[in-house]
């Protein structure tokens, strides 16, 4: 039976939607193994002493929320657990809302965390890498007020923060440019601050080169799998863990498609040979 390309596509799409949908409704609860890159990022935060001020940059928008938001929430939760104080920034305009959403989610479990003292959302700044360079010289010049309009000097969390060098570590959750690469180039390479972060699975291979002996990147979270690994490390029942089942089934289905594609080509070649 010969199927048209359109029918084949329809079958592939239907099977995929079932494969992704079913585990979301009926979670399987498969465990994921923690990779070295995720463990490095975890150790950086775990080993930073309590009370330090850290920076998380939300350099993404809602299109990649499925992969990056669970990472953001896990990083915030881990930092809160370790009593780090968090300064959030955004190099993408909608990163501000992403940060707000992540803080809302985590602060529900940490009601004692106070805005302005334990965490602050400084908001979006245009300019990408140049903004980071400017933050390296003087943070107050770049962010005279936070996203709510409160002046820099009125925020207790920023009392001892003058420039990037004053942060214990920086994490960028990035889905493109400007993002993690720019933070590595300026924050780590120029100022020597430990930088870690997360990105979508599709862009992760491009960042592995920065995880090197110079520790340009101290570990990297690549995609949903790393997010679920991080959740398991901090013992968090987050969304990444439940979504990982769907991704695993989808991966298996793609393997079946690859096998079916090869079988189809093999049969067609044999038919041609016999004709």
């Amino acid at each position: 039976m010969k199927l048209s390309a359109r029918t084949e596509r329809q079958i592939i799409y239907t099977l995929l939607i079932i494969a992704v949908g079913l585990p979301l409704v009926f979670p399987i609860g498969w465990k994921t193994e923690v990779s070295g890159y995720t463990e490095m990022a975890y150790k950086l935060i775990e080993e930073t002493p309590a009370g330090n001020v850290v920076l998380i940059s939300f350099d993404y928008d809602p299109s990649t929320i499925t992969e990056l938001q669970p990472m953001a929430e896990a990083l915030i939760e881990h930092a809160f657990k370790k009593n780090h104080r968090i300064v959030a920034t955004a190099l993408w305009p909608m990163g501000v809302q992403m940060a707000e959403k992540a803080f809302q989610e985590i602060c529900a479990a940490y009601p004692n965390k106070v805005y302005g003292e334990d965490y602050v959302n400084l908001g979006y700044k245009v300019g990408g890498m140049v903004s980071i360079q400017a933050m390296g010289r003087n943070l107050k010049e770049v962010y005279p007020v936070d996203s709510k309009g409160t002046h820099y000097d009125e925020l207790p969390i920023l009392q001892n923060i003058k420039r990037l060098k004053d942060f214990a570590w920086i994490a960028s959750l990035s889905s493109g440019v400007p993002g993690l690469k720019e933070w590595v180039m300026v924050a780590h390479d120029t100022y020597g601050i430990p930088v870690t972060g997360g990105c979508t699975a599709i862009s992760a291979p491009g960042f592995f080169a920065y995880v090197n002996e110079q520790k340009q990147l101290t570990g990297i979270l690549g995609g949903l799998k790393s997010a679920s690994e991080y959740e398991s490390l901090i013992d968090r029942k987050g969304t990444a863990t439940s979504k990982m089942d769907a991704q695993s089934i989808a991966h298996l289905l793609i393997l079946v498609f690859i096998a079916a594609g090869n079988l189809k080509v093999y049969l067609s070649r044999r038919r041609k040979r016999n004709a």
Binding site: E8, R9, I12, Y13, L16, V20, W30, K31, T32, E33, S35, G36, D61, P62, S63, T64, I65, T66, Q97, E100, K125, V126, G127, G128, V130, S131, Q133, A134, R137, N138, E141, V142, S147, K148, G149, A201, A204, P205, G206, F208, A209, G223, K225, M244, D245, Q247, S248, A250, H251, L252, L253, I254, L255, F257, I258, A260, G261, N262, V265, Y266
Partner: protein, 232 residues
């Protein structure tokens, strides 16, 4: 003159920034800091310019009813709706021209701008990105075909990474004895990502870096002029 002025500016500014990297003394630090501020201000205006351009291009298409003009109309309506809601009642904790819009917020649970962002923009945006999964599945069916040495290599690598990046991979070879741990699929996938992939990525990064240096020098020295617009 019209053409030479930006070229002279590009040369002076470009040389200043390069020199400042090597001379950490006055007045280079202050100059670079001022230039950074200028860059951020100009970037801010670029957003405004982008919006003006968006309105011009779309209104032209809608006015002349060019192909798919309905989508452009929907885009413009969405753009202005968000803009008007943002101006009138603000977003999150910022105030708009008509205050915070308490009555509307009570009715719908949040400010109109935030409501549209949360329940329209965010799901639509994630949906569009998620569509990639369908294209990837369809492409895998067609592209990973055994043809020759290179395609076999590509397919084997892809299969290892696909299984290795799923929870299923670690279960599949979990019972391997310690001596054969290298063949544990997630470890094999990590090896592929860490060594062959990173080696290739580094080569690409170095080449791209050299390319950026070359094209930056061409712009600073006025050889590359395409950024000025026009044919030359």
């Amino acid at each position: 003159m019209k053409r030479n002025t930006p070229l002279i500016f590009a040369f002076i500014v470009g040389m200043l920034v390069i020199l400042a990297e090597f001379i950490p003394h006055r007045p280079f630090g202050e100059l670079t800091s001022t230039l950074e501020n200028w860059f951020m201000i100009i970037s801010g205006f670029a957003i405004l310019l982008g919006q003006i351009s968006l309105i011009r291009v779309n209104s032209h298409i809608i006015y002349h009813k060019e192909s798919n003009w309905q989508y452009h109309l929907a885009g413009m309506i969405s753009f202005f709706l968000m803009l008007i809601f943002g101006i009138l009642w603000g977003m999150q904790e910022s105030i708009g021209l008509l205050g915070h819009g308490e009555r509307i917020s009570q009715a719908i649970g949040m400010k109109p701008f935030d409501y549209l962002f949360e329940y329209a923009y965010m799901p639509l945006s994630s949906t569009v990105f998620s569509l990639l999964a369908f294209f990837i599945a369809s492409a895998a069916y067609r592209a990973f075909i055994i043809r020759g040495f290179e395609s076999n290599l590509l397919m084997i690598t892809a299969v290892i990474v696909i299984i290795g990046r799923s929870s299923f991979g670690s279960m599949l070879t979990a019972s391997l004895p310690e001596a054969y741990r290298f063949w544990h699929i997630p470890r094999l996938a990590d090896f592929l990502m860490e060594y062959p992939n990173t080696a290739a990525q580094r080569a690409i990064l170095i080449s791209a870096g050299l390319g950026i240096v070359g094209s930056s020098l061409r712009i600073i020295l006025g050889i590359e002029r395409s950024y000025l617009g026009g044919d030359k």
